[in-house]
Symmetry: C2
Subunit: 196 residues, 2 copies
DNA sequence: ACCTGAACACCGTTCAAGT
DNA sequence: ACCTGAACACCGTTCAAGT
């Protein structure tokens, strides 16, 4: 016994994501992913439990990409200068832009983020990044969880809509301004405590 | 020539939606829908152009349900009394609750709303309802379109997330409070003009 | 340990044919 | 006009078998 592995879990997920990028989510298929890697469909089952687990793996890859991009953009948020962001919100804005970036790089796969629970380590990392930003914003500890859910959902929903072409009737400049306005809304909500 | 129709477009869409409700979106299948109606898969092609058009039809049905529920809840918004909503926002709040209601009735199908452009008459009707609410809220005409996109996206994203089980780790009371807070955020954004 | 081959019950969609 | 039947190239997944 003992045989050198031809494919790895990462290779499988990368091939699946690439397939989604090039030909849409509906062509992410055990047969097609196998074809990409020069392997029979059944060889994939050693690395993912099922087609569903494959899609969960794609979600994992997307979340990893989001947090990586966010980290690299942390010092240089697009439009930071003219937008006069307060220092506390830099990490949140970086994460928002990273989500939108990722949505545009993987428009077909991105909506999976809204559709799947996401309890993987990568999901936790993304959530923790939002937590850190909110804490720095001065939010009381007992509103962190709720604020995280609402902020993440708002940005995710926007990015997924854009990626899926729900705003396709409008120019990119219009959508960019929409996004800036969404960030203004979130800033407003986070800095205005509930009425007594 | 001339033969009495056995099935109609509405029957096809209703069967498809029912199938999604009972067994998930992945079991909405030309073969399965045909089976539901006692007909071969090919008989469906007279009423919908393709599988994709069938899914668009489901979106149409969902949007129709949203606007119908909103209209019936318009006078009696849940929690209107203790929430002290201003009169102007009643239609918007009714629509928000209608969306969440519809998401819970059709959790598997609902995420389609975020994924498909929606340029059908039913989509226009839903959009017009939001427009009317925003106008009544006193929004200037040139911010209506943007506000409509952001409000709709926020509520849609929340409802889709809940339906898809993204908040499954939390009690219904927690999610209800999340939703109330989301409405507070939107109210805040709509009543606070951009800084000069 | 890792991959293959054959097989099964399904898909979406076409085309020609029935009534 | 509306539906059927046979057919095609695909699916996801199983099981036993090869190295």
């Amino acid at each position: 016994v003992g045989r050198t592995a031809q494919i790895s879990r990462e290779a499988v997920l990368a091939a699946a994501l690439g397939l989604a990028d090039e030909a849409g989510l509906e062509s992410v298929t055990m047969h097609a992913v196998g074809r990409c890697l020069g392997v029979t469909p059944m060889a994939l089952y050693r690395h993912v439990d099922s087609k569903n687990a494959l899609l969960d793996g794609i979600v994992e890859a997307l979340l990893t990409e989001v947090t990586e991009i966010a980290a690299s953009h942390y010092d240089a948020v697009p439009g930071a200068a003219e937008d006069s962001h307060a220092a506390w919100e830099a990490p949140l804005v970086a994460l928002a832009y990273a989500m939108r970036d990722t949505a545009r790089r993987h428009p077909a796969a991105f909506p999976l983020l809204l559709t799947r629970p996401a309890v993987t380590p990568a999901a936790r990392a993304a959530r923790d990044a939002v937590y850190a930003g909110l804490r720095e914003a001065g939010l009381p500890a007992d509103s962190l969880a709720r604020a995280e859910r609402l902020v993440s959902t708002a940005i995710l929903g926007f990015a997924a809509s854009e990626a899926a072409g729900r705003f396709a009737a409008h120019d990119k400049t219009v959508i960019d301004a929409d996004f800036a306005e969404l960030l203004r809304w979130l800033r407003l909500a986070l800095t205005t405590p509930p009425a007594p």
